[in-house]
Each structure stands twice: as structure tokens, then as C-alpha cells.
């Protein structure tokens, strides 16, 4: 019972971190609200399915999905986003339009049906209860994503430049940093994380044009409550909501789980309008 609850909570937290980290990085770094985040995930899911169907092993398909959607993100940044920095409502509209376009395009090209891959991971028995082995893979990838992002930001020169630009773009460019390049790279990295998330979800949800819709609301709530610091915010908000959702969904039901997450989100927004990390001046 306790082991199951713990497992469900950790799984729930990991799912939330997985689907919202890419969005949080783009929002936290550039104050761009990417409404096409869900569709980036959806593209990652299709990339993964295509790779697996072409005979690639699953881990390679994950990498390919991240890379492909990352490159796609860079193209989107160059063609659309870079003209709209500092205009939050305009980026909102532009990325919303992009998301509608992507859903339509994918439906036309791949059809409305969900696509599946046959990957067998089997299950793990513990205390008379079966657990899907793949959920442990998902938990590991989700934690890995956060750790790698933290390492890049903390230990590399690129990370230093990005953090500097994030704190004060004008000063950073005064010191010779190419701001455009940083923004482009950051957007691409956020998109790559979204693509990876979509690919990792394929064995659980399949790939369908509506995949993004199922997760984008959760990701947004998570990012808004997390606040402007992408890593700490994502970890904090995911842990909070994941714990509530995992526990309540198991003890009561999925409906009560969703309702309680929303209630807590509303109360928190009233108390902390800028999110959990809203008062923190520096950090990640």
C-alpha cells in the first residue's frame, strides 16, 4: 500500500516534469509562452514512431525525436518567434496558430488514428502488485532530463552565458554575447525536451494528433505555478502537484485527483501570483 502510493507519486511527479520542463525553459528564459508546446511533443511522438517502424531501437528513436524537434524549434524561432520577443500576447497568438497548423498537418499526413509501437518491457511484481517496467524507464529519463539541464546550466560555459543572458540580456550583449544565438539555442533546447517527452510517452499513450492537447494544460498549470525559474520552479510545482495527484488519484479517484490539483493551483495563484519561485531573485 505504502510502496504503491510512493510509486504512484514518483511516477506522477516524473510525468509532470517530463511534459513541462521544455515549456518552463522557454518561458523562464525568454518570457515566450509557447502554446505549440503540446504539438512539439506530438511531433516528437511521431518522430519516435517513424524511427521505430523504420527498425531503429527505441533509445535511438528517443534521441532522433529530440534532435528533430529541436531543429524544428530552431526553424520556428527563426521564422516566427524572433520577431515577437517582448510581445507576450503576440507570441501567444502566433504559437497558437502554429499549434492548429501542426495538428492539421499531422492529421492530413498521418491520419487521425493513434499510432502504436510494439515495444515490450514486461512488468515487475512487487508485493503482489504488478508495475509496468516502462514506467521506471520514464521516471529515469525524466530525472535525467532535469539533472542534465542543471549540469549544463551550472557547469558549462554555455550554461553560464545562458544564465547571464537570462538575468540581464542588455548587459550580456554589452559583454559581447550574441543574444540572438542564445535565444535561438534555448528555444531549440526547450523544443528538443518537448520532442523527447513526446517520444517517451509513445509506449504509454501512442502517437495521435491530439496527444499535445492531453498534456498541454497540465504543463501550463505546472509552469505558471512554478514561476519564472525553470528548473527549481518545475521541480517544486511537479513535486507538489504530483504528490497530490498521485495520492488522491489512488486513494479516491482520478476525477478527485484532477479536481484537487486544480483547487490547490487556484489557491496558490491567489497567494503567490508570480508562482512558487516568483520571489526568488536568482537561481535556475
Amino acid at each position: 500500500m505504502i510502496a504503491t502510493t510512493l510509486y504512484l507519486i514518483i511516477y506522477s511527479i516524473s510525468l509532470l516534469m517530463l511534459v513541462s520542463l521544455g515549456l518552463a525553459i522557454i518561458f523562464g528564459m525568454m518570457k515566450v509562452i509557447n502554446l505549440a508546446h503540446g504539438e512539439f511533443m506530438m511531433l516528437g511522438a511521431y518522430a519516435c514512431v517513424l524511427c521505430v517502424n523504420a527498425g531503429a531501437p527505441l533509445w535511438l528513436a528517443f534521441a532522433a525525436a529530440a534532435l528533430a524537434v529541436g531543429l524544428f524549434g530552431i526553424v520556428v524561432e527563426r521564422l516566427i518567434i524572433r520577431f515577437l520577443y517582448g510581445r507576450i500576447v503576440d507570441t501567444l497568438l502566433a504559437t497558437w496558430g502554429l499549434s492548429l497548423f501542426l495538428v492539421g498537418l499531422v492529421t492530413t499526413v498521418f491520419g487521425p488514428q493513434a499510432w502504436s509501437i510494439s515495444a515490450r518491457f514486461g512488468n515487475v511484481s512487487f508485493g503482489g502488485m504488478n508495475f509496468s517496467a516502462y514506467t521506471f524507464v520514464l521516471i529515469a529519463i525524466s530525472i535525467g532530463m532535469v539533472v542534465v539541464t542543471w549540469l549544463i546550466a551550472r557547469l558549462t560555459t554555455v550554461g553560464l552565458i545562458v544564465r547571464g543572458t537570462m538575468q540581464d540580456a542588455t548587459v550580456a550583449s554589452g559583454l559581447g554575447v550574441n543574444r540572438n544565438l542564445v535565444y535561438m539555442g534555448t528555444f531549440g533546447y526547450g523544443a528538443a525536451l518537448a520532442g523527447l517527452a513526446g517520444a517517451v510517452l509513445v509506449p504509454i499513450t501512442g502517437a495521435s494528433p491530439s496527444l499535445g492537447l492531453f498534456f498541454v494544460a497540465k504543463a501550463f498549470i505546472n509552469v505558471i505555478i512554478g514561476g519564472h525559474l525553470p528548473l527549481i520552479g518545475t521541480i517544486a510545482a511537479s513535486s507538489l502537484f504530483g504528490t497530490i495527484d498521485g495520492f488522491v488519484s489512488y486513494v479516491w479517484s482520478s476525477v478527485v485527483g484532477e479536481v484537487s490539483v486544480l483547487i490547490v493551483a487556484v489557491i496558490l495563484l491567489r497567494l503567490l501570483p508570480l508562482g512558487i519561485t516568483g520571489r526568488l531573485r536568482s537561481g535556475l
Binding site: Y11, G104, N123, M129, T205, Y250, S254
Partner: protein
């Protein structure tokens, strides 16, 4: 002779008014080639199109076959298609347009209960006739509406009978989509499971966007049922079948479902996930009858697609053909004449014999119990012949209350 512009318009508009006056044309015997107009409103785009794409083609195929056989009442049939884009607002807009601008003789379509409830009042207002080709929660009592699809009692009773009595899977755990179809179907499941001597351990509802089923899968394992009953609906809920197979597995606790296969899920999930799911349906591609084989072949030739066809495609064909049979019996396409001729009309279709029940304007039909196989299809296990729409019959009597237009919630 020179015509001034004003004179020209006067003459021309007079001629147009004369020519378009139906009665005049009919008297002159000129209406012979005047087509019967059929409106089909379905979602070719948007999230609901997994239920519609095949049905759109099957309806077109039915009209095509009617025309090839010489039309209806000696007149050709013209199909007008409207894409409602998975948005009820378009159902309302196009239904109005079909009656007002295109002056259609019958309205076919709508896939969700909400789209149907948007269009039924419009059909009433224009005194039209409406064919709703879907499986739904039952209870619509309206002479201007007919539904050739399954209602819960019709479908759940045979499935429970098979699962509880023949397979001996008595303790059930029920999962259903959290809206009227799921809520009502879950009640019928509980009722029939108890009646057949089974036990319902729990009932749980899921909003349509839930994709994480790990919590309920854990609860199912603690409850240790003999079988899990599903009335889950839509894309997101298909995740359940993946996650269930990856944890519990149907070998340990089997699955029985009412809506599985309607969106052709069987053809898109993996063989492991499809194999062993028990369903009750009025049509599967693999029915071993000549009618079914012929329908599947004709549909594949007509659509140029070589995939699993499924029940919702057959609904489109069935509904259109049943309406055509009613028109033949009424010897008129006028909605009021069609309404009066509904009772007892039959059509021998791909899933067996379909008989219109004039008390409810629903259909008495064969219900087939089938199980998912590794080829992305189903194997037939057993057929229950001529099941009546008993739940709707219990609350609706159009013979006694011809002016009824309500949707009743069946009392349990």
C-alpha cells in the same frame, strides 16, 4: 424587340419563380429527374473524425448503390456532405443550412450525443427527418429521429450474459467515461451484472482527457476482480488498454468493453494490446456471412482503402439503406410520410436483419460477441439474435405519444 434591363429581370424572375415552384413542376411531370436530396453532416476533421471518416464513405457508398439500382421512387439521390469539424456549432449551422438553403429531404449524421441534441431541435423546427448513425446512451424518443445503432441494454445484456454466465467471471470492476454515455452504460452494467448473479466491486469514471491510468490499475490489482468492464471513450482513454496490458495483462484479469473498436482501436493498438478484449457489437468485418463479406469487399473497392472497416462505417450504410426502405414503403420522401411508415421496416444488412421498432424509432438487431485477435481484428464467439432496444422501449412509446421529442434517462 429590345428588352430593357428592368423588363428582363421581371421576366426572368417570374420564370425562375415558376420553375422552382415544386407543385407546378410535379403537375407538368417535369419532376421526374428532380433529385432527392440527402444531407450528411459528420466530422471529417478534428478530434472526432476517427469515428466519422469511414462512415462518410459508407454513406456515400449507400447513395451510390441506390442510384446504380435506379434511384429511389424513380428519382436520383443527391448527397450533400457538410464537415462539422468536431464542433457542435457547425452541426447547428449546417443543419439549418441543409434545410433552408439546400432544402434536403433527410438529414443524416452527428456522431456525439451532444451534436445530435444540437441538431434535433432544428429538425423539429423545419419538420424534417433525421437519421443518427451511432451507438449511444439510449432514450431519445422522437418520431422525426431514428437511430440504427446499439443502445446500452441491447449491447450490455448479451455481453454480461457471455462474460458472467459462460466465462464465469462474476466479480467485475467497471471503468467508464465521465459523461452521459459512460454514466448510463455503467448503470446498465451494474444492473445486468447483479441480475446474472455477478458482483460489481467498483465503478469509476474518467474525464475524457485522462491518459494516466496507473492509479486505477493499482486499485484494480488490490480489488482483485475476475474481469474489468470498460465503457471508456476516445483517444486519451485508449492509453488504458496499453497501460493495462503492460501491467496487469488480460491473461491475469480479462477485459470486456462496450465501445472498443468503434474508433477502429483494434487496428491501431499492438497485437498484444488487442488480443483477448471481449466486445459486444452489431458488426465486425469477420462475421462469417455472405452479406458481411460482400459489404467489406464493396466498401474496400469503393473507398480504395484496404484496412479494417468496422462498425461505424456499417452504421452509415445501414442507416441510409433503412431510410431508403422506409421511403419505398411510404412511397414518398416527405418527412411526415416517412415518419408514418417507420414501424416494421426491415433491411437485411451486413450484421444481420435490422428491423425498425416504431415504438421508439430504434432498431431490433443481432448482437455479436467477439474477441480481439492478433491480426488487428476480432474473432466471432457467439451471436444473440434480434435484440430489442429494451431500455428505450421501457421509457418511450411513440405510438401513444406521437408528439414526444424528449430524451429520457432510463430508470434503473
Amino acid at each position: 424587340m429590345t428588352l430593357s434591363r428592368r423588363q428582363f429581370f421581371r421576366t426572368a424572375s417570374g420564370a425562375v419563380a415558376f420553375a422552382s415552384s415544386y407543385g407546378v413542376l410535379a403537375k407538368a411531370g417535369l419532376a421526374q429527374g428532380n433529385p432527392i436530396k440527402v444531407a450528411n453532416i459528420l466530422d471529417a476533421t478534428g478530434g472526432l473524425n476517427i469515428y466519422c471518416l469511414k462512415q462518410i464513405k459508407a454513406t456515400a457508398m449507400a447513395i451510390d448503390e441506390i442510384n446504380k439500382a435506379g434511384g429511389l421512387l424513380g428519382r436520383p439521390v443527391e448527397l450533400i456532405f457538410y464537415d462539422s469539424q468536431s464542433n457542435n456549432q457547425f452541426n447547428s449551422q449546417y443543419a439549418t443550412q441543409a434545410f433552408v438553403r439546400d432544402k434536403v429531404d433527410v438529414l443524416i449524421g452527428g456522431v456525439t450525443s451532444s451534436s445530435r441534441e444540437v441538431m434535433r431541435p432544428i429538425v423539429q423546427r423545419f419538420k424534417g427527418f433525421y437519421v443518427y448513425n451511432a451507438l449511444y446512451e439510449g432514450g431519445v424518443c422522437d418520431r422525426r429521429h431514428m437511430c440504427p445503432g446499439l443502445v446500452p441494454a441491447q449491447q450490455v445484456a448479451p455481453l454480461v450474459d457471455y462474460v458472467v454466465n459462460e466465462k464465469g467471471l462474476k466479480k467485475g470492476y467497471i471503468l467508464a467515461a465521465d459523461y452521459n454515455y459512460g454514466q448510463i452504460t455503467a448503470k446498465w452494467m451494474q444492473k445486468f451484472i447483479r441480475e446474472k448473479g455477478g458482483e460489481d466491486l467498483a465503478v469509476e469514471f474518467f474525464p475524457l482527457d485522462v491518459t494516466n491510468f496507473a492509479p486505477v490499475i493499482s486499485r484494480i490489482q488490490s480489488a482483485k476482480p475476475d474481469v474489468v468492464w470498460s465503457a471508456l471513450v476516445g483517444d486519451a482513454h485508449m492509453s488504458f488498454f496499453r497501460q493495462y496490458q503492460a501491467t496487469v495483462g488480460k491473461d491475469n484479469i480479462p477485459l470486456a468493453a462496450t465501445t472498443y473498436g468503434l474508433g477502429r482501436e483494434n487496428a491501431t493498438l499492438t497485437p498484444d494490446e488487442n488480443e483477448g478484449i471481449m466486445i459486444a457489437t452489431s458488426f465486425i468485418d469477420a462475421l462469417p456471412t455472405e452479406a458481411a463479406k460482400s459489404f467489406v469487399e464493396r466498401f474496400k473497392a469503393f473507398s480504395g482503402e484496404d484496412e479494417y472497416v468496422g462498425e461505424y462505417a456499417e452504421y452509415g450504410y445501414r442507416g441510409t439503406m433503412l431510410w431508403a426502405e422506409i421511403v419505398k414503403k411510404a412511397n414518398s420522401v416527405a418527412p411526415d410520410d416517412v415518419m408514418a411508415a417507420v414501424d416494421g421496416v426491415t433491411f437485411d444488412g451486413a450484421g444481420g436483419r435490422y428491423t425498425m421498432d416504431g415504438q421508439t424509432n430504434h432498431v431490433i438487431m443481432d448482437v455479436h460477441i467477439a474477441v480481439g485477435n492478433r491480426e488487428g481484428s476480432f474473432d466471432l464467439l457467439k451471436s444473440f439474435s434480434q435484440q430489442p432496444p429494451a431500455d428505450t422501449q421501457a421509457v418511450c412509446n411513440l405510438f401513444e405519444n406521437p408528439n414526444d421529442t424528449k430524451q429520457y434517462e432510463p430508470e434503473l
